[in-house]
């Protein structure tokens, strides 16, 4: 821990210098290798991401039995798809309908279903989103240009334990294809968090 921690008004040091210093020390001491660090970055930047979630949403739109299994046991489905691990030991998929719209947040930190959506976007980790999503979800949706009918019940899921939540968005009218390849590009990351509708950010 840095010694400025106990000052009354600490000023942060350039984090890039701190990262470099720690990386150097760990590599010099033989605790980690540069290759291992690069491997972690590569995995989360390239191997996992919202295309995983988009694939299962597209499959659920096309196959009612798949949809039913996804909603009743999301963990089993992502395991079959080979997406397990990475903050998704237990995945619960919640479905948007004409009556219910779901929104996912983590008010205490930044929990997010890495296995199906990759790493979270910056705004998801912002104090603004974490503070307001549970209290004023319609206001948050408006920040994304998303407007819902007054009658729609909004359900906000606070990921405060180890369960991870993903939204199964409604299939938009313009999503007319009948293959996963045609439909998955219509499923944006933000629709699977619940701040936008499918099609709108894709």
């Amino acid at each position: 821990m840095s010694h400025d921690h106990h000052h009354h008004h600490p000023e942060p040091t350039d984090p890039a210098i701190r990262v470099e210093a720690i990386e150097q020390l760990l590599v010099e001491k033989g605790i980690v290798t540069t290759e291992r660090i690069d491997g972690v970055i590569d995995k989360y930047e390239h191997d996992i991401g919202p295309m995983n979630g988009a694939t299962i949403v597209a499959k659920a739109w096309l196959d009612p039995q798949y949809r039913d299994r996804l909603l009743s046991d999301g963990s089993a489905v992502i395991k079959e798809e080979g997406f397990s691990g990475g903050q998704a030991e237990h995945l619960v998929v919640v479905e948007n309908t004409d009556e219910v719209h779901n929104l996912v947040v983590c008010t205490l930190c930044s929990c997010y279903p890495w296995a199906v959506l990759g790493l979270p976007p910056s705004w998801y980790k912002s104090p603004e989103y974490r503070a307001r999503a549970v209290r004023d979800p319609r206001g948050v949706l408006a920040d994304f240009g998303t407007e819902l009918d007054e009658e729609v019940e909004i359900r906000v899921w606070d990921s405060s334990a180890e369960v991870r939540y993903m939204v199964l968005p409604q299939r938009p009218p313009e999503a007319t294809g009948d293959t996963v390849e045609e439909l998955a590009p219509m499923v944006g990351r933000d629709a699977m968090i619940g701040v936008r509708l499918a099609g709108a950010d894709s």
């Binding site: 821990m1 970055i41 030991e89 947040v105 910056s122």
Partner: protein, 235 residues
């Protein structure tokens, strides 16, 4: 208390600082609009490296994810809300390495200044890793509550260490929406006080109960919070 590996562990007092609670943001007002356009995962190369190095630091220090989260929660409250997300991570990576006895307390700052460290590494906590087994565990007792049960969030617990109980539901009554399996209890596990597997419930609250002034008609949205069984009581 001992952990799954049978090691004896010290308590939260061995951590140098307590969580300020500034991280517990749910329901707080006045933060302004969500920066919806700021949707990058990483903004700069140092953020990429901070992401990986912090996690590898946690592992090298022999800590679990609960201890890592608690480390971030112990960030200086004056900094917590204004420094970049991955700055909090790398500062916590350093905290983990120092508390785990991998690096001397002055080792990173010395390297950043181009000077020599004079300190010695010394482990100050016995928090443990959870290894490859994840964090889901069978509980010793059956679940106390079932779907549809009314539960109240206890107000007689006042933890100063790690907890996953958000303040905005304290004292409120909700309904169990689903029983979400059983898991390592973060409140003990973060402090090396054992896994203590416990049931987790998705509990449904009415926003009109949580924030009555926001909803004068009594109609509002629904908030579902995953709560560990020790946080709950029968109303």
């Amino acid at each position: 208390m001992s952990d799954a590996a049978g090691q004896t562990n010290r308590t939260a007092e061995s951590f140098p600082a307590k969580a300020s609670g500034v991280h517990d943001l749910g329901g707080k007002t006045g933060f302004g609009p969500v920066p919806a356009d700021d949707d990058a995962i990483f903004h700069a190369d140092w953020e990429r490296r901070a992401f990986a190095v912090s996690q590898l630091a946690q592992i090298a220090a022999g800590f679990n994810t609960d201890a890592f989260r608690h480390g971030v929660e112990r960030e200086d409250p004056d900094l917590y809300l204004r420094i970049p997300y991955f700055d909090k991570w790398i500062r916590n990576g350093e905290r983990m390495l120092v508390e785990g006895g991998v690096l001397a307390p002055d080792e990173v700052s010395a390297r950043m200044n181009g000077s020599e460290s004079t300190g010695q590494p010394s482990r100050t906590t016995d928090a443990t890793p959870h290894g490859e087994r994840g964090v889901r565990r069978p509980a010793e007792q059956p679940a106390v509550y079932a779907t549809g049960d009314q539960v109240r969030v206890r107000t007689d617990r006042t933890p100063t260490g790690h907890t996953r109980l958000p303040n905005y539901v304290l004292g409120h009554t909700g309904v169990v929406e689903r029983v979400n399996e059983s898991w390592i209890f973060p409140d003990t596990h973060a402090h090396g006080q054992g896994e203590d597997p416990t049931w987790v419930y998705a509990v449904r609250f009415n926003a009109a109960d949580l924030w009555p002034d926001d909803h004068p008609t009594g109609q509002g949205h629904t908030v579902l919070v995953d709560l560990y069984e020790p946080y709950l009581e029968t109303p």
